[in-house]
């Protein structure tokens, strides 16, 4: 049974919407890795915990999940800055395994916090203003997904603009390029790192708010989003915003199409298989920068 | 090729993007020699070592060692054939003891740890590393000690040719004197051929039998230390008196 063209078009469109959200999810990760060379294994778990937080707040004060970001984004920035100061900064210069391991530890803590407080139950926000469909020929456009995609792309491009066109961006890029030279130029590298890590985590809160306008929170989306965002970075390299967007769209569409054509289980597996194959056959070319 | 030639580098070129790091360089090192390879920053000295030891793959040219073409072979294969090296920025095994690090090198030619350990001790003693620090972890020793361990680890592989990459960089004058003596001893008593890549002229001039000067990826001059010291083009390259 081959699905109808209408169904395919719908699936493709959903994939594109999802892809834009993925690019926002991966943005923080790529920023932290690109600038600091720090490998944040807990990235996906921040998105997961952010989603639960959004559910908790949106449901208790009966507001739209996208508005909750006004609270969660600054909160996550502070959390990110604190984690950088307490955990990340002390392990600079230690064995790579230990560096990776501490962020694995952070992820483990977040995951189990969620399991403890929210059990394993999936949660979705009931009242969202964006929960309506616009019919357009054979496809139905989910307003929440459309808005999510639009906002995501605006933010991703906005951050790109910030990095390339502003003084702060120049400082950040100088630090990413050469830590020692940046220090000599009078840049407070520590401050830049604090800012970047905080921003990286704050962006996960934003992505989580948008995700919750149509998705649901459960403890396992952390691992799933974590790996997905890494797949995106591996595919797109750290080159720039175009690579990030392209690979996010590829992953989103790939996932959506396999979900329609095959099964949800396969659609979960496919990005990982692609990831392994990419690692095997094009490791250098696709990553852009590696140690 | 003369019979006592150990290493022959022929028309070696290496590019990084648009930058030519090595431009058709010819170098020959003969058995038992102590050759200094000097040049200002960016002359391609370290690139040359990296191409010889297999860290980089050159775009053109050949590296011939003991009559065998070893161009583009993996670093461990080249080490097995008898070329060892040290690093400009030391690469210590921080969480291993000094003796374990050197034993690792000695295990290239034997697979008995006990025997390798004895050899490691002999080498450390030979280069004058303090016995009391044999069991100290790599992360707890000083820079000069790191340099000595790096050297001992390389010597433990029983190389025929040892390449030292800026071995005195970052050291105090008194420490440079220590290294100078060790390097001479390795060449004279262990009979190991040495290629000493160096930025510090004073050191190279005092140890080398013959000096090769690289400049902007090309061979600029070659000769005895005294010939090189008075060579006008070398002085120009170093002092940069060339009109702009």
């Amino acid at each position: 049974m081959f699905p109808s063209p209408g169904l395919m078009a719908q699936s493709l469109l959903d994939g594109i919407f999802l892809g834009f959200l993925y690019s926002l999810m991966a943005l923080g990760l790529s920023l932290v890795f690109g600038v600091m060379g720090i490998i944040n294994f807990a990235h996906g778990d921040f998105i997961m915990l952010g989603s639960y937080l959004v559910w908790l707040i949106a449901n208790s004060v009966r507001t739209d999940p996208s508005l909750v970001s006004i609270v969660t984004v600054p909160l996550f920035f502070v959390v990110g800055a604190a984690i950088y100061t307490i955990i990340i900064r002390p392990v600079f210069g230690k064995e790579p395994l230990i560096q990776i391991a501490v962020t694995v530890g952070v992820g483990y803590v977040l995951q189990n916090t969620a399991l403890m407080f929210f059990r394993a139950e999936p949660r979705a926000v009931q009242s969202t203003a964006l929960n309506l469909y616009i019919g357009l020929g054979p496809v139905n456009i989910h307003a929440a997904k459309l808005v999510t995609a639009l906002l995501s792309s605006v933010i991703v491009i906005g951050v790109h603009y910030l990095l390339t066109k502003t003084w702060v961006g120049l400082t950040i890029r100088a630090t990413a390029y050469d830590r020692e030279v940046a220090t000599l130029m009078g840049i407070n590298v520590n401050k830049v790192y604090l800012l970047v890590f905080g921003l990286g985590i704050a962006l996960t809160a934003l992505a989580a708010s948008l995700w919750m306008t149509f998705g649901q929170a459960n403890p396992y989306i952390g691992t799933s989003f974590g790996l997905l965002t890494w797949v995106i970075i591996a595919l797109g390299g750290l080159g720039g915003v175009s690579g990030l967007l392209a690979s996010s769209l590829i992953v989103g569409v790939m996932q959506s199409l396999t979900m329609t054509l095959a099964s949800p289980t396969i659609s979960l597996t496919v990005p990982y298989l692609v990831f392994l194959v990419v690692l095997w056959f094009r490791p250098q070319g696709l990553f852009g920068r590696r140690e | 090729m003369k019979s006592d030639t150990l290493l022959e580098v022929r028309k070696l070129s290496k590019r990084f993007g648009g930058i030519v790091a090595l431009n058709s360089v010819d170098v020959e090192i003969r058995e038992g020699e102590l050759v200094g390879i000097v040049g200002p920053n960016g002359a391609g000295k370290t690139t040359l070592i990296n191409c010889i030891t297999g860290i980089y793959k050159p775009e053109a040219g050949k590296v011939v060692f003991l009559g065998e073409d070893i161009t583009g072979k993996a670093p461990h294969e080249i080490a097995l054939r008898g070329i060892a090296r040290t690093w400009q920025k030391v690469r210590p095994f921080l969480n291993m003891s000094v003796i374990d690090a050197v034993t690792t090198g000695a295990l290239l030619k034997t697979n008995e740890p006990a025997k390798a350990r004895r050899e490691a001790m002999e080498i450390l003693e030979f280069i004058g590393f303090p016995r009391s620090k044999f069991e100290t972890l790599g992360k707890n020793i000083t820079l000069i000690e790191h340099k000595l361990v790096d050297l001992a680890r390389a010597l433990a592989t029983k190389p025929k040719l040892l390449l030292l990459d800026e071995v005195v960089a970052g050291l105090r004058p008194s420490e440079i004197d220590v290294i100078t003596e060790v390097v001479k001893k390795v060449n004279k008593e262990m009979k190991i051929t040495l290629g000493v890549v160096e930025h510090v002229m004073r050191f190279v001039m005092s140890v080398s039998d013959r000096v090769i000067v690289l400049h902007e990826g090309m061979l600029l001059a070659e000769g005895s230390p005294s010939e090189i010291a008075y060579n006008p083009s070398v002085i120009e390259a170093y002092l940069g008196t060339k009109p702009i």
């Binding site: 490998i39 294994f41 307490i86 955990i87 002390p90 230690k94 064995e95 790579p96 395994l97 230990i98 990776i100 391991a101 501490v102 694995v104 530890g105 952070v106 992820g107 483990y108 803590v109 995951q111 189990n112 399991l115 403890m116 691992t223 790996l227 591996a234 289980t265 396969i266 979960l268 597996t269 990982y272 298989l273 990831f275 392994l276 690692l279 095997w280 056959f281 490791p283 140690e291 | 993996a74 670093p75 461990h76 060892a84 690093w87 690469r91 210590p92 095994f93 969480n95 291993m96 690090a101 034993t103 690792t104 295990l107 290239l108 697979n111 740890p113 390798a116 680890r153 390389a154 592989t157």
Partner: protein, 329 residues
């Protein structure tokens, strides 16, 4: 000569000591089956963590796929037993083989293309997910009690005692392998790879080959243990392919101290006791609290004491050993 015999005896004792110490435990626990099962699970986890020590502790590769190999080996042995009445003794060997083969297939290209650090860790984390999902796809979301059979032929018994004794032998075997590798050329090579791959290559070490060897040995041990693990969990489930459990093994390896046999063993047993203690007290109120604490413990060790428990235990053991050997070593 006398010295050598003494040395040999001390080494032998080091390997057998955990086993000898473990033997009277069922008696001390009054053959309480619940506690013996816990002891069995601790011994298995300690064995798994010690296998991890070869790839993670010695070779310094943050492998997060331990339960991929345990699951694969375990599934094979269990399926063979249930469907074809093939003894797990053989099944475990086959399980070991298939896990080793998987490790080779995964590891060869990874190491061939110089994948290391975070990319290695990610690839292994992805491997667990892929197997988890693939197994569901092929076998369905199975989760059931293994049909009851009894006897040494099936390695299953009415009580846990025999299996516990059996697991002590596995532990002794894994300790022996660890110590043997640690003292051999392979051990020196793996540790130097952990410290600096480039420098290791320059002293003639074929980094790829030895990393692959470490991975295959690790996977072979896990594939062998798989069946015993599944039996000790009492259910046969796709959930064996667990990412969080695999991370837990790495936590034990790091908290114990990279490359330290005594540290890793202590960490495995200590964490199991903490887990049970917390489950007993707070399990109803805050399930999963122990996991949360283990995560924090990992962070604390990483930040404050990357040497882990071994920095406390190793000096103590060394002193005892020196005394046993008769003064200076």
């Amino acid at each position: 000569m006398m010295m050598n015999i003494r040395k040999l005896l001390v080494s032998l004792l080091t390997i057998l000591l955990p086993m000898l110490a473990g033997l009277p435990i069922p008696y001390l626990l009054n053959f309480n089956q619940y506690y013996i099962l816990l002891a069995l699970q601790s011994v298995i986890i300690a064995s798994v963590a010690l296998a991890w020590n070869i790839i993670g502790g010695y070779a310094g590769q943050l492998d997060l796929a331990s339960f991929a190999y345990i699951g694969l080996g375990g599934i094979l042995a269990t399926e063979l037993m249930i469907n074809y009445n093939i003894t797990p003794w053989l099944g475990m060997l086959l399980g070991s083989g298939i896990s080793a083969a998987l490790a080779f297939i995964i590891g060869y290209p990874l190491f061939r293309f110089g994948i290391r650090g975070v990319w290695y860790a990610l690839s292994t984390a992805a491997l667990v997910v892929i197997l988890h999902e693939s197994v569901i796809m092929v076998l369905g979301p199975y989760d059931y009690y293994i049909p009851f059979v009894e006897g040494w032929y099936y390695l299953r018994f009415r009580t846990w005692d025999n299996l516990y004794y059996f697991s002590l032998f596995i532990l002794a075997g894994v300790i022996f392998l660890n110590l043997y590798i640690g003292r051999s050329r392979l051990g020196y090579y793996l540790r130097s790879i952990r410290e600096d791959e480039v420098a290791a290559e320059a002293v003639g070490i074929d980094v790829r080959k030895y990393k692959l060897l470490a991975l295959v040995i690790y996977a072979a041990i896990l594939g062998f243990i798989g069946y015993i693990y599944i039996v000790s969990q009492r259910t046969f489930s796709y959930k064996t392919f667990s990412g969080p459990q695999s991370v837990y093994i790495a936590i034990i390896g790091i908290v114990g101290g990279l490359g330290s046999v005594s540290g890793v063993m202590t960490a495995a047993i200590f964490l199991k006791i903490v887990e049970e203690y917390l489950r007993g007290f707070l399990g109803g109120v805050l399930p999963g609290l122990h996991l949360l604490l283990f995560g924090i413990l990992l962070i604390v060790v990483g930040v404050l004491r990357p040497g882990g428990l071994s920095t406390f235990i190793e000096p103590l053991l060394k002193r005892t050993k020196t005394r046993l050997m008769g003064g200076k070593v």
